[in-house]
Homo-oligomer: 124 residues x 2
DNA sequence: GAAATTAGTTTCCAAAAGGAAACTAATGGT
DNA sequence: ACCATTAGTTTCCTTTTGGAAACTAATTTC
């Protein structure tokens, strides 16, 4: 008889795994955290502001990632009827609920660097 | 004169961004969270156990991801001199420090699903 | 002697991700 | 007339990621 999974083979684990997949799907890609972090600090920013703030990103990626975030109600996009057009991006209240995750990830990464420096003199 | 970044243009932000990049680099890929989550719950598991527990993963990916995690001291690999060879994987104490991140991500994902279901009033 | 089990590695391939540069379209400035 | 700016989109290309299947190698079981 074939062996089956035991640990992950229950509703609680399946739910948690799906939840992790959902969250990470929404936060996937090279730039989501940078965009969210910048918007959390900056309140209202225009497209070109974000392009300047986020080092290395290009227009295609910025545009695409902002669309993703907007679709998930994490970022709000407002178009003003000026000439030329003005577009403002801001984090939503719902988007702000990601702050604890971002905090945890940032702090873990800072600890990781500190541990690397203590254990050896490896510069990453 | 060209405009420059203001928000992200300071040492604290740069450090935080690097930290996030580090953490997410270590946790990158389709399977890291699943492997870590399973090992956190299961203590000691063999290669074939993990292959059975983690639905959909193949030998190549499991092997490669375990190597990554071992390199970062998040997982410990122990080979036993049996015939055929036995290999045990377990989470390290350091690996357990990722639990808060995994918890936050799982809980956010669960909330996200709940919000989607009662999305009659999506307050953004 | 064939098949199964252990823990992987290797090869080949398809899909996804991401970047650079060109382009749109309206308008304001020199 | 020509360039700059706004906020993107489109195209083309390279890199990265991930999966399926075959393979290794030693040993035990049928």
């Amino acid at each position: 008889m074939k062996k089956k999974a035991v640990l992950n083979n229950n509703a609680v684990c399946q739910t948690r795994m799906t939840a992790i997949k959902d969250t990470m799907g929404i936060l996937s890609g090279k730039w989501k955290f940078h965009i969210l972090g910048t918007l959390i600090r900056g309140e209202k920013l225009r497209f070109m502001d974000l392009l300047r703030e986020i080092d290395g990103i290009g227009t295609k990626m910025l545009s695409k990632e902002l669309q993703d975030l907007e679709m998930n109600h994490l970022v709000k996009r407002t178009v003003f009827n000026t000439k030329p057009v003005t577009v403002e991006y801001e984090i939503t209240e719902y988007g702000k609920t990601l702050s604890p995750i971002i905090e945890e990830i940032a702090n873990w990464g800072i600890d990781y660097r500190n541990k690397l420096h203590k254990k050896s003199e490896v510069t990453v």
